[in-house]
């Protein structure tokens, strides 16, 4: 094997698309994506809850897929397209999932909300939730200690019409 290189305190140059903007950044290998967002880029919408992948508060979208930013190394996002809660609104208009969370009062303290919304957008992108039970199961990576789950489900249902919903609420592709 080759000799183990010394830790790289100087950092590595990476390039990524963050909320639609190309960013050239220097990161140390041990910096998580969550710490990069919050500490280096001041994007504090993404929350640090457990920091161990158990609560979902740090959920962001990488290439359209929801991931836990706390268990992702920033250096491994070189070339990726990332969307955080700050990047969901377009041209001053909230994302439909954000609107639905407001309409259904889908939060109490709000700490888990950015992660819930990013996770729900990821869920919509996956196209796998066709029943209320499936929404429940496929949102289980996001904990809400206030227990706003029923309203969160109502908000998600509004944006992801269900196969088992009444026809006048809009059916969904099979």
């Amino acid at each position: 094997m080759s000799a183990t290189p010394q830790p790289d305190f100087a950092g590595h140059a990476i390039s990524l698309t963050l909320n639609g903007e190309i960013r050239q950044l220097t990161v140390q290998p041990w910096t998580t994506l969550l710490d990069l967002l919050r500490e280096q880029l001041d994007l504090v919408g993404t929350k640090k809850g457990c920091d161990h992948g158990q609560c979902g508060a740090c959920t962001v979208l990488r290439d359209g897929k929801r991931i836990n930013a706390c268990l992702t190394l920033a250096i491994m996002c070189d070339g990726a397209k990332l969307t955080t809660i700050e990047g969901l609104a377009q041209e001053g208009q909230l994302h439909p999932m954000q609107q639905a969370f407001i309409k259904h009062d889908a939060f109490q303290c709000g700490y888990c909300t950015p992660g819930q919304i990013c996770s729900a957008v990821g869920l919509a992108n996956e196209g796998r939730a066709t029943t209320d039970d499936e929404i429940k199961e496929l949102m289980s990576g996001n904990l809400c200690r206030c227990g706003a789950y029923s309203n969160i489900r109502a908000a998600v249902q509004e944006v992801i019409p269900l196969l088992d919903a009444a026809p006048n609420q809009g059916g969904r592709r099979p």
Binding site: T4, P29, W30, H52, T59, M76, G141
Partner: protein, 329 residues
């Protein structure tokens, strides 16, 4: 997390040439980074393998599938060929972790995840798996989630994976590459029982990288079921899980696979139990007999005797659901 250096090789030979005692491969990172944050893993160098060409699922000449080690858990579970031919595997993967983690975690990494024994994760207490020779506080401690089969004086931890329980039942083959070349490991031989070396979870050498997991043709798609029992409805590790698969000729069992999760240091399979079921008709009595035989040598710890009863009932239910074609929970 300790400081480390980082490299991202573009082919497997480069990757295995970089490997050494103080290095770790990283793909999804969902378990490794957690262990690094707890100072349980302290690599000096991370080899990022996500640039390697191991991301495909391909059909094999023998009618099976070759799953690249970097296929994510989500992509695996929702792949049309996995859903149609190996629903047992799809169900097992979807029973594990959360949607976010399944988007990140790789197929190879799932095999290499470490136990969730609380004492292993708590670096203020001894643990033979974490620091060989220091002792096992779980054996006489809070051991509700621990092993009932195949444990040793030195370690009573269980393997946490759901995917691996299905892969064991399906007789998958693990393809690995090291500096000395390539080899294939039968799934049953991949993970180890703890014995007096619980620090070793599996048979991989330090320079060996999992490149693929191969599924044989037999997927038991018509009659299989993955049953997982846990402390909450979703997003929790198994107390008991059962992968049950049957090949039926009318009511007669022609072939059967039965593997337990949450009970031992590796997915627990007993071929003698499977053999005794072959040729019998589907019946509750036959399934109860299989469950009793499977758990004959089970040894409870102070807090986990409930697991024996639970496993017995779970085996009967999983086999019954498999027999009635319960491929969807």
């Amino acid at each position: 997390m300790n400081p480390f250096s980082y490299s991202k090789p573009t082919d497997v030979s480069q990757a295995v040439n970089l490997a050494g005692p103080a290095t770790r491969f990283i793909a999804g990172g969902t378990n490794l980074l957690d262990l690094m944050k707890e100072n349980i893993a302290r690599p000096e160098h991370l080899i990022d393998i996500t640039g390697l060409p191991l991301t495909d699922i391909q059909e094999t000449a023998s009618g099976g599938l070759m799953i690249g080690a970097l296929v994510s858990n989500a992509d695996l579970a929702w792949h049309p060929l996995i859903e149609s031919r190996y629903p047992l595997l799809s169900q097992a993967v979807l029973a594990g972790a959360s949607p976010q983690l399944r988007n990140m975690a790789s197929t190879g990494g799932n095999l290499l995840q470490r136990t969730r024994c609380y004492y292993f994760y708590d670096s203020t207490v001894p643990c033979n798996k974490r620091e060989p020779g220091t002792g096992c506080p779980a054996k006489d401690g809070l051991n509700r989630i621990h092993a009932i089969l195949g444990a040793s004086e030195d370690c009573v931890a269980t393997h946490p994976s759901d995917m691996c329980v299905a892969l064991a039942a399906l007789e998958a083959v693990v393809h690995v590459q090291g500096r000395a070349g390539k080899r294939q490991i039968e799934f049953a031989d991949f993970h180890r029982l703890p014995g007096n070396t619980p620090e070793r979870d599996n048979q991989l050498a330090e320079d060996e990288l999992i490149t693929a997991v191969e599924l044989p043709a037999a997927g038991f798609a018509a009659h299989s079921h993955y049953l997982k029992i846990r402390d909450r409805a979703s997003y929790a590790f198994a107390l008991i899980s059962v992968a049950a698969a049957l090949e039926l000729d009318g009511e007669i069992i022609r072939d059967v696979r039965l593997t337990l999760g949450g009970v031992a240091h590796k997915p627990w399979r007993d071929k003698a139990v499977e053999t005794s079921l072959k040729g019998q008709a589907v019946s509750r009595e036959a399934f109860v007999g299989a469950a009793d035989a499977m758990l004959r040598d089970a040894q409870p710890l102070e807090h986990n005797a409930f697991k024996i009863k639970l496993a017995r009932r779970a085996i009967v239910r999983a086999l019954s659901d498999a027999a009635t074609g319960g491929t969807r929970p």
